[in-house]
Symmetry: C2
Amino acid sequence: MKVMVGGTFDPLHDGHRQLLARSFDLAGQDGQVVIGLTTDTFAHRKVHPVRPFAIRKKELEAVLSSMGYQTPWAVEPLNDRFGSATESDFDAIVVSEETLPAAVEINRIRREAGRRKVDIHQISCVLAEDGRWISSTRIYRGEIDIHGHVLR
Amino acid sequence: MKVMVGGTFDPLHDGHRQLLARSFDLAGQDGQVVIGLTTDTFAHRKVHPVRPFAIRKKELEAVLSSMGYQTPWAVEPLNDRFGSATESDFDAIVVSEETLPAAVEINRIRREAGRRKVDIHQISCVLAEDGRWISSTRIYRGEIDIHGHVLR
């Protein structure tokens, strides 16, 4: 099936890897994965600095290539919470606990526009060593590394 | 992975088949699927009459066998909205649009009890010929058959 997923991926941590891996598992070999990458304008709402789109895209593409999936994939810019997900033809969206409400909203908008709803797959956040979520904000603050190891 | 899913399955329609098929796809050959089947006491909250547990279980098991999955599965009684999902060790729960809130609630209860949260997979309801949901209530009323064909 055709699967959509999105994020800022900066820095790209084990929670992101889980999100991407599940997207490819769901899509299957005959499917397709579209990864929405937040634009710099949209990503700047984050509480921590974010590296430029081109750099994040390069890192994301390197990780995707290294994962070794046969399924075709593409990265597209994400200008807002929904991107093309309210309009494009696809089967399922993969989200984290934080972005589940956006997926529910996407289905509401699709329904109102007469489009079919998509399936929603929410992965539970990956926990760091200390039992709290791995997040880019915590990594930026120097609390944990990208694998969730506690740094102080 | 180990997947849980639940329902009354009476009558067992194409929406249920989709829910079951997705559960097995997610679990994979090395996984396991546990299907919670509502007990008669719990199922009687429905707006339409429900056939006895033993009959529903037999029909469900026949459908599961006919689906031809290699993945081991088991049917267990479901006495309330949550069943064993708040306590047992599993990876993902598969729900419909109607039961997504129960899955979110299950994760809240698990978290409060110090258990790890599970992933949530919500399938969008299967539509009947008339563009509205296939549901047991509509089938009971004689509006559609179990495949969503309009009967009047």
